[in-house]
Protein backbone atom coordinates (compact mmCIF):
# COMPACT_ATOMS: atom_id res chain seq x y z
CA UNK A 1 0.00 0.00 0.00
CA UNK A 2 1.24 3.46 -0.83
CA UNK A 3 0.42 6.91 0.48
CA UNK A 4 1.89 10.06 -1.06
CA UNK A 5 4.28 7.79 -2.96
CA UNK A 6 5.69 6.30 0.24
CA UNK A 7 5.53 2.64 1.13
CA UNK A 8 3.49 2.12 4.28
CA UNK A 9 4.79 -0.66 6.54
CA UNK A 10 2.45 -3.62 6.86
CA UNK A 11 1.92 -2.94 10.60
CA UNK A 12 0.29 0.39 9.80
CA UNK A 13 -2.12 -1.19 7.39
CA UNK A 14 -2.99 -3.68 10.12
CA UNK A 15 -3.68 -0.74 12.46
CA UNK A 16 -5.86 0.85 9.83
CA UNK A 17 -7.99 -2.27 9.44
CA UNK A 18 -8.17 -2.67 13.21
CA UNK A 19 -9.45 0.92 13.46
CA UNK A 20 -12.06 0.30 10.77
CA UNK A 21 -13.17 -2.86 12.56
CA UNK A 22 -13.45 -0.96 15.86
CA UNK A 23 -15.57 1.78 14.28
CA UNK A 24 -17.87 -0.57 12.38
CA UNK A 25 -18.20 -2.71 15.48
CA UNK A 26 -19.10 0.27 17.63
CA UNK A 27 -21.44 2.16 15.32
CA UNK A 28 -22.42 -0.37 12.64
CA UNK A 29 -25.05 -1.99 14.80
CA UNK A 30 -24.19 -5.51 13.68
CA UNK A 31 -24.56 -8.03 16.50
CA UNK A 32 -22.33 -10.46 14.59
CA UNK A 33 -19.42 -7.99 14.51
CA UNK A 34 -18.58 -6.60 17.93
CA UNK A 35 -15.89 -3.89 18.29
CA UNK A 36 -12.32 -5.18 18.21
CA UNK A 37 -11.65 -3.92 21.73
CA UNK A 38 -14.46 -6.10 23.06
CA UNK A 39 -13.03 -9.05 21.16
CA UNK A 40 -9.64 -8.51 22.79
CA UNK A 41 -11.21 -8.20 26.19
CA UNK A 42 -13.07 -11.43 25.66
CA UNK A 43 -9.85 -13.07 24.55
CA UNK A 44 -7.96 -11.93 27.64
CA UNK A 45 -10.73 -13.18 29.88
CA UNK A 46 -11.03 -16.44 28.01
CA UNK A 47 -7.41 -17.59 27.96
CA UNK A 48 -6.99 -18.31 31.72
CA UNK A 49 -10.22 -20.31 31.98
CA UNK A 50 -10.03 -24.07 32.44
CA UNK A 51 -12.48 -24.62 29.66
CA UNK A 52 -10.18 -22.83 27.21
CA UNK A 53 -7.05 -24.54 28.48
CA UNK A 54 -8.48 -28.02 28.20
CA UNK A 55 -9.84 -27.20 24.74
CA UNK A 56 -6.35 -26.07 23.71
CA UNK A 57 -4.73 -29.21 25.06
CA UNK A 58 -7.15 -31.44 23.17
CA UNK A 59 -6.76 -29.37 20.01
CA UNK A 60 -2.97 -29.14 20.01
CA UNK A 61 -2.77 -32.83 20.80
CA UNK A 62 -4.83 -33.69 17.72
CA UNK A 63 -2.98 -31.10 15.65
CA UNK A 64 0.52 -32.32 16.37
CA UNK A 65 -0.34 -36.01 16.26
CA UNK A 66 -2.05 -35.68 12.89
CA UNK A 67 0.75 -33.52 11.59
CA UNK A 68 3.46 -35.89 12.80
CA UNK A 69 1.71 -38.74 11.03
CA UNK A 70 1.39 -36.68 7.85
CA UNK A 71 5.11 -35.86 7.92
CA UNK A 72 6.17 -39.40 8.82
CA UNK A 73 4.11 -40.95 6.04
CA UNK A 74 4.09 -38.07 3.55
CA UNK A 75 7.86 -37.69 3.15
CA UNK A 76 8.60 -41.38 2.43
CA UNK A 77 5.57 -41.52 0.14
CA UNK A 78 6.66 -38.48 -1.85
CA UNK A 79 10.19 -39.83 -1.89
CA UNK A 80 9.10 -43.17 -3.37
CA UNK A 81 6.96 -41.38 -5.96
CA UNK A 82 9.97 -39.26 -6.88
CA UNK A 83 12.38 -42.13 -7.42
CA UNK A 84 10.10 -44.80 -8.87
CA UNK A 85 8.03 -44.26 -12.00
CA UNK A 86 5.97 -47.36 -11.21
CA UNK A 87 4.98 -46.16 -7.75
CA UNK A 88 4.38 -42.69 -9.12
CA UNK A 89 1.93 -44.04 -11.67
CA UNK A 90 0.32 -46.34 -9.11
CA UNK A 91 -0.56 -43.72 -6.49
CA UNK A 92 -0.02 -40.42 -8.32
CA UNK A 93 -3.58 -40.24 -9.59
CA UNK A 94 -4.98 -40.77 -6.10
CA UNK A 95 -2.75 -38.13 -4.59
CA UNK A 96 -3.85 -35.66 -7.23
CA UNK A 97 -7.51 -36.44 -6.60
CA UNK A 98 -7.10 -35.95 -2.86
CA UNK A 99 -5.12 -32.75 -3.18
CA UNK A 100 -7.97 -31.04 -5.01
CA UNK A 101 -10.93 -32.90 -3.49
CA UNK A 102 -13.30 -31.26 -0.98
CA UNK A 103 -11.82 -33.11 1.97
CA UNK A 104 -14.47 -31.87 4.39
CA UNK A 105 -16.84 -34.34 2.78
CA UNK A 106 -14.53 -37.21 3.73
CA UNK A 107 -14.43 -36.42 7.46
CA UNK A 108 -17.90 -37.91 8.14
CA UNK A 109 -16.56 -41.21 6.81
CA UNK A 110 -13.91 -41.09 9.51
CA UNK A 111 -16.65 -40.52 12.05
CA UNK A 112 -18.28 -43.74 10.93
CA UNK A 113 -15.03 -45.69 11.06
CA UNK A 114 -13.24 -44.09 14.00
CA UNK A 115 -16.15 -42.86 16.07
CA UNK A 116 -16.99 -39.36 17.23
CA UNK A 117 -13.86 -38.33 19.06
CA UNK A 118 -10.18 -37.48 19.04
CA UNK A 119 -9.25 -40.22 16.54
CA UNK A 120 -11.46 -38.68 13.90
CA UNK A 121 -9.96 -35.23 14.47
CA UNK A 122 -6.43 -36.62 14.19
CA UNK A 123 -7.40 -38.40 10.97
CA UNK A 124 -8.87 -35.18 9.65
CA UNK A 125 -5.65 -33.25 10.41
CA UNK A 126 -3.67 -36.00 8.71
CA UNK A 127 -5.90 -35.98 5.66
CA UNK A 128 -5.67 -32.22 5.22
CA UNK A 129 -1.92 -31.97 5.79
CA UNK A 130 -0.40 -34.93 4.00
CA UNK A 131 -0.96 -34.19 0.31
CA UNK A 132 1.06 -30.99 0.11
CA UNK A 133 3.91 -32.79 1.87
CA UNK A 134 3.74 -35.74 -0.53
CA UNK A 135 3.65 -33.61 -3.67
CA UNK A 136 6.38 -31.18 -2.63
CA UNK A 137 8.69 -33.98 -1.50
CA UNK A 138 8.09 -35.74 -4.80
CA UNK A 139 8.92 -32.58 -6.73
CA UNK A 140 12.06 -32.06 -4.65
CA UNK A 141 13.31 -35.59 -5.27
CA UNK A 142 12.58 -35.29 -8.98
CA UNK A 143 14.74 -32.16 -9.14
CA UNK A 144 17.79 -33.80 -7.60
CA UNK A 145 20.65 -33.78 -10.10
CA UNK A 146 21.03 -37.48 -11.02
CA UNK A 147 24.82 -37.11 -10.92
CA UNK A 148 24.73 -36.67 -7.14
CA UNK A 149 23.41 -40.12 -6.18
CA UNK A 150 25.64 -41.57 -8.88
CA UNK A 151 28.64 -39.77 -7.41
CA UNK A 152 27.86 -41.10 -3.92
CA UNK A 153 27.43 -44.59 -5.37
CA UNK A 154 30.82 -44.32 -7.13
CA UNK A 155 32.47 -43.68 -3.76
CA UNK A 156 30.80 -46.75 -2.32
CA UNK A 157 27.72 -45.30 -0.60
CA UNK A 158 24.92 -47.71 0.28
CA UNK A 159 21.35 -47.07 -0.84
CA UNK A 160 20.32 -45.94 2.63
CA UNK A 161 23.23 -43.52 2.83
CA UNK A 162 22.41 -42.12 -0.59
CA UNK A 163 18.85 -41.57 0.63
CA UNK A 164 19.68 -39.49 3.66
CA UNK A 165 22.98 -37.90 2.65
CA UNK A 166 21.96 -36.96 -0.89
CA UNK A 167 18.24 -37.11 -1.66
CA UNK A 168 16.98 -35.81 1.65
CA UNK A 169 19.42 -32.90 1.78
CA UNK A 170 19.05 -32.05 -1.90
CA UNK A 171 15.25 -32.07 -1.63
CA UNK A 172 15.18 -30.26 1.72
CA UNK A 173 13.95 -26.89 0.38
CA UNK A 174 10.93 -28.51 -1.26
CA UNK A 175 10.28 -30.80 1.71
CA UNK A 176 10.21 -27.78 4.03
CA UNK A 177 7.90 -25.89 1.68
CA UNK A 178 5.61 -28.92 1.79
CA UNK A 179 5.70 -29.03 5.58
CA UNK A 180 4.90 -25.31 5.75
CA UNK A 181 1.83 -25.81 3.55
CA UNK A 182 0.99 -28.90 5.59
CA UNK A 183 1.07 -26.90 8.84
CA UNK A 184 -1.45 -24.42 7.47
CA UNK A 185 -3.72 -27.10 6.07
CA UNK A 186 -3.49 -29.00 9.35
CA UNK A 187 -5.07 -25.99 11.12
CA UNK A 188 -7.92 -26.26 8.67
CA UNK A 189 -8.07 -29.98 9.35
CA UNK A 190 -8.22 -29.65 13.11
CA UNK A 191 -10.91 -26.95 13.05
CA UNK A 192 -13.08 -28.73 10.51
CA UNK A 193 -12.59 -32.06 12.25
CA UNK A 194 -13.57 -30.65 15.62
CA UNK A 195 -16.49 -28.67 14.21
CA UNK A 196 -17.93 -31.75 12.56
CA UNK A 197 -17.34 -33.89 15.62
CA UNK A 198 -18.57 -30.88 17.63
CA UNK A 199 -17.81 -32.17 21.08
CA UNK A 200 -14.09 -31.61 21.51
CA UNK A 201 -11.53 -28.83 21.72
CA UNK A 202 -11.95 -25.50 20.05
CA UNK A 203 -14.57 -27.00 17.73
CA UNK A 204 -16.76 -27.36 20.79
CA UNK A 205 -15.98 -23.78 21.81
CA UNK A 206 -16.84 -22.46 18.35
CA UNK A 207 -20.10 -24.36 18.48
CA UNK A 208 -20.86 -23.04 21.96
CA UNK A 209 -20.06 -19.39 21.19
CA UNK A 210 -21.91 -19.22 17.91
CA UNK A 211 -25.00 -21.05 19.19
CA UNK A 212 -25.22 -18.69 22.16
CA UNK A 213 -24.46 -15.58 20.11
CA UNK A 214 -21.25 -14.91 22.07
CA UNK A 215 -19.59 -13.14 19.19
CA UNK A 216 -16.88 -11.43 21.27
CA UNK A 217 -15.55 -14.82 22.28
CA UNK A 218 -16.16 -16.30 18.85
CA UNK A 219 -14.01 -13.68 17.13
CA UNK A 220 -11.33 -13.84 19.82
CA UNK A 221 -10.97 -17.58 19.26
CA UNK A 222 -10.95 -17.18 15.51
CA UNK A 223 -8.19 -14.56 15.67
CA UNK A 224 -6.13 -16.85 17.86
CA UNK A 225 -6.47 -19.71 15.38
CA UNK A 226 -5.42 -17.40 12.54
CA UNK A 227 -2.46 -16.14 14.52
CA UNK A 228 -1.39 -19.67 15.33
CA UNK A 229 -1.50 -20.79 11.69
CA UNK A 230 0.37 -17.68 10.62
CA UNK A 231 3.05 -18.01 13.30
CA UNK A 232 3.82 -21.69 12.68
CA UNK A 233 4.03 -21.14 8.92
CA UNK A 234 6.34 -18.16 9.47
CA UNK A 235 8.56 -20.24 11.73
CA UNK A 236 9.07 -22.85 9.03
CA UNK A 237 9.51 -20.01 6.54
CA UNK A 238 12.45 -18.75 8.57
CA UNK A 239 14.14 -22.16 8.42
CA UNK A 240 13.46 -22.24 4.69
CA UNK A 241 15.15 -18.88 4.19
CA UNK A 242 18.26 -20.06 5.99
CA UNK A 243 18.77 -22.94 3.59
CA UNK A 244 17.64 -21.06 0.50
CA UNK A 245 21.19 -20.05 -0.42
CA UNK A 246 21.87 -23.43 -1.86
CA UNK A 247 18.40 -24.10 -3.22
CA UNK A 248 18.89 -21.23 -5.65
CA UNK A 249 22.09 -22.67 -7.02
CA UNK A 250 21.07 -26.16 -7.94
Amino acid sequence: MKLNGKQIPIVYSLFLWAAIWELVGRYGGLAILPPLSAVFEAGVEMVPTDKFKSAMVVTLDAYFRGLAMAVAIGIPMGFLMGVSKTIDRLIGTWVNIFVSAPLTAVVPIFMVILGIGQATVIASVFLFAIWAIVLDTRAGVKHVNPSLPEMAHSFGASRWLIFYRIYLLAALPEVLAGIRLGLIRAVKGVVIGQLLVAITGIGELFELYSRNFLFDEFWALLLMVFAFAFATAEAVGLVEKRIEYYARTR
Binding site: S147, E150, S154, F155, Y246
Partner: protein
Protein backbone atom coordinates in the same frame (compact mmCIF):
# COMPACT_ATOMS: atom_id res chain seq x y z
CA UNK B 1 41.39 -54.78 -36.19
CA UNK B 2 44.98 -55.62 -37.24
CA UNK B 3 46.04 -52.21 -36.12
CA UNK B 4 44.52 -52.89 -32.72
CA UNK B 5 46.24 -56.24 -32.37
CA UNK B 6 49.55 -54.75 -33.42
CA UNK B 7 49.22 -51.89 -30.97
CA UNK B 8 48.32 -54.26 -28.21
CA UNK B 9 51.40 -56.43 -28.62
CA UNK B 10 53.54 -53.32 -28.63
CA UNK B 11 52.26 -52.36 -25.21
CA UNK B 12 54.91 -53.22 -22.69
CA UNK B 13 53.12 -52.12 -19.54
CA UNK B 14 50.89 -54.47 -17.58
CA UNK B 15 47.25 -54.30 -18.43
CA UNK B 16 45.19 -53.00 -15.52
CA UNK B 17 41.73 -52.78 -17.10
CA UNK B 18 40.41 -55.33 -19.54
CA UNK B 19 37.18 -54.69 -21.39
CA UNK B 20 35.88 -57.95 -22.81
CA UNK B 21 33.03 -58.16 -25.32
CA UNK B 22 31.00 -55.34 -23.82
CA UNK B 23 27.60 -54.56 -25.30
CA UNK B 24 25.11 -52.17 -23.79
CA UNK B 25 21.47 -51.81 -24.64
CA UNK B 26 19.52 -49.29 -22.58
CA UNK B 27 16.00 -49.86 -21.42
CA UNK B 28 13.90 -48.54 -24.26
CA UNK B 29 16.11 -50.18 -26.87
CA UNK B 30 19.03 -47.82 -27.54
CA UNK B 31 22.07 -49.92 -28.42
CA UNK B 32 24.88 -47.75 -27.08
CA UNK B 33 27.83 -50.17 -27.33
CA UNK B 34 28.51 -53.35 -29.25
CA UNK B 35 31.40 -55.80 -29.01
CA UNK B 36 33.90 -53.54 -27.29
CA UNK B 37 37.26 -55.17 -26.48
CA UNK B 38 39.99 -53.08 -24.97
CA UNK B 39 43.07 -53.25 -22.81
CA UNK B 40 44.17 -50.33 -20.74
CA UNK B 41 47.81 -50.29 -19.68
CA UNK B 42 48.69 -49.52 -16.11
CA UNK B 43 50.12 -46.11 -15.30
CA UNK B 44 49.11 -44.55 -18.63
CA UNK B 45 46.59 -42.03 -19.76
CA UNK B 46 44.04 -43.52 -22.14
CA UNK B 47 41.38 -41.39 -23.76
CA UNK B 48 38.09 -42.34 -25.40
CA UNK B 49 37.38 -40.18 -28.40
CA UNK B 50 34.36 -40.22 -30.66
CA UNK B 51 31.35 -38.29 -31.87
CA UNK B 52 28.79 -37.20 -29.35
CA UNK B 53 26.34 -39.99 -28.47
CA UNK B 54 28.68 -42.82 -29.49
CA UNK B 55 28.73 -44.31 -25.99
CA UNK B 56 31.87 -42.86 -24.37
CA UNK B 57 30.15 -42.02 -21.11
CA UNK B 58 28.38 -45.37 -21.15
CA UNK B 59 31.68 -47.24 -21.54
CA UNK B 60 33.33 -45.21 -18.80
CA UNK B 61 30.44 -45.82 -16.39
CA UNK B 62 30.51 -49.53 -17.14
CA UNK B 63 34.20 -49.62 -16.23
CA UNK B 64 33.38 -47.60 -13.12
CA UNK B 65 30.78 -50.18 -12.15
CA UNK B 66 27.99 -47.60 -12.23
CA UNK B 67 26.24 -49.35 -15.12
CA UNK B 68 25.85 -53.08 -15.73
CA UNK B 69 26.51 -54.09 -19.33
CA UNK B 70 24.02 -56.32 -21.14
CA UNK B 71 26.87 -58.46 -22.47
CA UNK B 72 30.51 -59.02 -21.64
CA UNK B 73 32.53 -58.08 -18.61
CA UNK B 74 35.19 -55.71 -17.36
CA UNK B 75 38.12 -57.03 -15.37
CA UNK B 76 40.44 -55.01 -13.22
CA UNK B 77 43.70 -56.81 -12.52
CA UNK B 78 41.89 -59.94 -13.63
CA UNK B 79 38.96 -59.47 -11.26
CA UNK B 80 35.47 -59.02 -12.63
CA UNK B 81 33.82 -55.65 -11.95
CA UNK B 82 30.45 -55.94 -10.22
CA UNK B 83 30.12 -52.40 -8.92
CA UNK B 84 32.13 -49.36 -7.88
CA UNK B 85 35.27 -50.06 -5.87
CA UNK B 86 38.03 -48.31 -3.97
CA UNK B 87 40.43 -48.93 -6.88
CA UNK B 88 38.52 -46.43 -9.04
CA UNK B 89 37.54 -42.79 -8.65
CA UNK B 90 35.25 -40.86 -10.97
CA UNK B 91 35.28 -37.22 -12.04
CA UNK B 92 31.90 -36.20 -13.37
CA UNK B 93 31.21 -34.07 -16.42
CA UNK B 94 28.82 -31.82 -14.49
CA UNK B 95 31.11 -31.84 -11.40
CA UNK B 96 28.47 -33.51 -9.16
CA UNK B 97 29.29 -31.30 -6.19
CA UNK B 98 26.91 -31.13 -3.27
CA UNK B 99 25.63 -27.53 -3.35
CA UNK B 100 24.90 -27.49 0.38
CA UNK B 101 28.45 -28.41 1.36
CA UNK B 102 31.66 -26.38 1.35
CA UNK B 103 34.62 -27.21 -0.87
CA UNK B 104 36.25 -28.87 2.12
CA UNK B 105 33.21 -31.07 2.84
CA UNK B 106 32.85 -31.97 -0.82
CA UNK B 107 36.48 -33.07 -1.09
CA UNK B 108 36.17 -35.02 2.16
CA UNK B 109 33.06 -36.85 1.00
CA UNK B 110 34.81 -39.80 -0.65
CA UNK B 111 37.13 -40.22 2.33
CA UNK B 112 34.20 -40.02 4.72
CA UNK B 113 32.39 -42.79 2.85
CA UNK B 114 35.50 -44.89 3.16
CA UNK B 115 35.43 -44.45 6.91
CA UNK B 116 38.48 -42.26 7.43
CA UNK B 117 38.48 -40.44 10.81
CA UNK B 118 37.52 -36.77 10.76
CA UNK B 119 40.84 -35.02 11.45
CA UNK B 120 42.72 -37.32 9.13
CA UNK B 121 40.39 -36.70 6.21
CA UNK B 122 40.35 -32.99 6.94
CA UNK B 123 44.12 -32.85 6.53
CA UNK B 124 44.07 -34.91 3.39
CA UNK B 125 41.35 -32.75 1.82
CA UNK B 126 43.31 -29.58 2.58
CA UNK B 127 46.35 -31.10 0.89
CA UNK B 128 44.49 -31.99 -2.31
CA UNK B 129 42.57 -28.72 -2.42
CA UNK B 130 45.97 -27.04 -2.46
CA UNK B 131 47.28 -29.42 -5.11
CA UNK B 132 44.55 -28.55 -7.56
CA UNK B 133 45.27 -24.87 -6.92
CA UNK B 134 42.32 -23.96 -4.71
CA UNK B 135 44.07 -23.22 -1.40
CA UNK B 136 42.07 -20.60 0.46
CA UNK B 137 38.73 -21.72 -0.99
CA UNK B 138 38.09 -24.48 1.57
CA UNK B 139 35.13 -22.68 3.10
CA UNK B 140 33.57 -21.55 -0.19
CA UNK B 141 30.39 -23.09 -1.54
CA UNK B 142 30.27 -24.51 -5.07
CA UNK B 143 27.99 -21.75 -6.36
CA UNK B 144 30.62 -19.18 -5.41
CA UNK B 145 33.15 -20.78 -7.77
CA UNK B 146 33.60 -20.66 -11.55
CA UNK B 147 33.07 -23.78 -13.68
CA UNK B 148 36.78 -24.45 -13.89
CA UNK B 149 37.20 -24.16 -10.14
CA UNK B 150 34.27 -26.48 -9.53
CA UNK B 151 35.85 -29.09 -11.74
CA UNK B 152 39.08 -28.76 -9.76
CA UNK B 153 37.06 -29.55 -6.63
CA UNK B 154 35.73 -32.66 -8.38
CA UNK B 155 39.30 -33.61 -9.28
CA UNK B 156 40.53 -33.05 -5.73
CA UNK B 157 37.73 -35.24 -4.38
CA UNK B 158 38.70 -38.05 -6.76
CA UNK B 159 42.43 -37.71 -6.06
CA UNK B 160 41.90 -37.66 -2.30
CA UNK B 161 40.63 -41.25 -2.14
CA UNK B 162 43.91 -42.38 -3.68
CA UNK B 163 42.41 -44.82 -6.18
CA UNK B 164 44.74 -46.42 -8.74
CA UNK B 165 42.43 -45.62 -11.60
CA UNK B 166 41.13 -42.13 -12.19
CA UNK B 167 38.20 -41.84 -14.58
CA UNK B 168 37.19 -38.52 -16.04
CA UNK B 169 34.16 -37.81 -18.19
CA UNK B 170 34.82 -34.73 -20.33
CA UNK B 171 36.18 -32.84 -17.34
CA UNK B 172 36.87 -29.75 -19.40
CA UNK B 173 33.68 -29.67 -21.44
CA UNK B 174 32.09 -26.80 -19.55
CA UNK B 175 35.25 -24.78 -19.07
CA UNK B 176 36.36 -21.92 -21.31
CA UNK B 177 39.33 -22.33 -23.65
CA UNK B 178 42.05 -20.52 -21.65
CA UNK B 179 41.07 -22.20 -18.40
CA UNK B 180 40.93 -25.50 -20.24
CA UNK B 181 44.56 -25.29 -21.42
CA UNK B 182 45.83 -24.26 -18.04
CA UNK B 183 43.80 -27.03 -16.46
CA UNK B 184 45.13 -29.64 -18.90
CA UNK B 185 48.70 -28.63 -18.12
CA UNK B 186 48.08 -28.63 -14.37
CA UNK B 187 46.45 -32.01 -14.65
CA UNK B 188 49.37 -33.56 -16.54
CA UNK B 189 51.73 -32.08 -13.99
CA UNK B 190 49.72 -33.45 -11.10
CA UNK B 191 49.31 -36.89 -12.68
CA UNK B 192 53.02 -37.26 -13.35
CA UNK B 193 53.43 -36.98 -9.57
CA UNK B 194 50.50 -39.21 -8.66
CA UNK B 195 51.35 -42.19 -10.90
CA UNK B 196 47.83 -43.18 -11.71
CA UNK B 197 46.11 -44.93 -14.55
CA UNK B 198 43.82 -42.39 -16.11
CA UNK B 199 40.85 -43.00 -18.38
CA UNK B 200 39.65 -39.84 -19.95
CA UNK B 201 36.65 -39.08 -22.14
CA UNK B 202 36.75 -36.21 -24.59
CA UNK B 203 35.34 -35.17 -27.91
CA UNK B 204 38.26 -32.88 -28.67
CA UNK B 205 40.95 -34.38 -30.92
CA UNK B 206 43.62 -31.94 -29.78
CA UNK B 207 42.86 -32.61 -26.16
CA UNK B 208 43.00 -36.37 -26.66
CA UNK B 209 46.35 -36.24 -28.42
CA UNK B 210 47.75 -33.68 -26.04
CA UNK B 211 46.96 -35.50 -22.82
CA UNK B 212 47.03 -39.21 -23.67
CA UNK B 213 49.44 -42.06 -24.27
CA UNK B 214 46.75 -44.03 -26.04
CA UNK B 215 43.68 -42.75 -27.89
CA UNK B 216 40.76 -45.11 -28.36
CA UNK B 217 38.63 -44.05 -31.32
CA UNK B 218 34.99 -45.08 -31.06
CA UNK B 219 32.60 -45.31 -34.00
CA UNK B 220 29.12 -43.76 -33.93
CA UNK B 221 26.32 -45.63 -32.22
CA UNK B 222 26.46 -48.48 -31.50
CA UNK B 223 29.94 -47.60 -30.27
CA UNK B 224 32.71 -49.96 -31.29
CA UNK B 225 36.46 -49.62 -31.06
CA UNK B 226 37.47 -48.23 -34.44
CA UNK B 227 41.17 -47.74 -33.87
CA UNK B 228 43.64 -47.43 -31.05
CA UNK B 229 46.41 -44.92 -31.59
CA UNK B 230 49.47 -44.80 -29.39
CA UNK B 231 50.84 -41.31 -29.31
CA UNK B 232 54.59 -41.11 -29.09
CA UNK B 233 55.14 -37.53 -28.10
CA UNK B 234 58.07 -36.19 -26.16
CA UNK B 235 56.30 -34.83 -23.10
CA UNK B 236 59.40 -33.31 -21.59
CA UNK B 237 58.89 -30.38 -23.95
CA UNK B 238 56.90 -27.32 -22.96
CA UNK B 239 53.17 -27.34 -23.66
CA UNK B 240 53.55 -24.83 -26.49
CA UNK B 241 56.32 -26.85 -28.11
CA UNK B 242 54.19 -29.97 -27.89
CA UNK B 243 51.33 -28.21 -29.62
CA UNK B 244 53.70 -27.35 -32.54
CA UNK B 245 55.38 -30.76 -32.56
CA UNK B 246 55.22 -32.54 -35.92
CA UNK B 247 54.15 -35.84 -34.36
CA UNK B 248 51.42 -34.12 -32.41
CA UNK B 249 50.05 -32.49 -35.56
CA UNK B 250 50.27 -35.76 -37.52
CA UNK B 251 48.25 -37.61 -34.89
CA UNK B 252 45.64 -34.89 -34.92
CA UNK B 253 45.39 -35.15 -38.73
CA UNK B 254 45.22 -38.96 -38.63
CA UNK B 255 42.40 -38.95 -36.14
CA UNK B 256 40.56 -36.22 -37.99
CA UNK B 257 40.78 -38.33 -41.17
CA UNK B 258 38.92 -41.12 -39.35
CA UNK B 259 36.40 -38.96 -37.55
CA UNK B 260 35.43 -36.90 -40.61
CA UNK B 261 34.05 -40.05 -42.26
CA UNK B 262 31.39 -40.12 -39.52
CA UNK B 263 30.01 -36.73 -40.43
Amino acid sequence: MNQVAKNMTETKQDTIVEVDGIAMRYEGGVQALKGVDLKIPSGELTSFLGPSGCGKTTLLKIIAGLLTPTEGEVRIRGKKVTGPGPDRAFVFQDFALMPWATVQRNVEFGLELRGMPKDQRGEKAVKYIAEVGLAGFEKSYPHELSGGMRQRVGLARALAVDADILMMDEPFASVDEQTRRKFQEDMLDLLSKEKKTVIFVTHSIEEAVYVSDQVVLLSPRPGQVQRIIRTEIDRSKSPDEIRRDKNYLDYVDDIWAVLRTYL
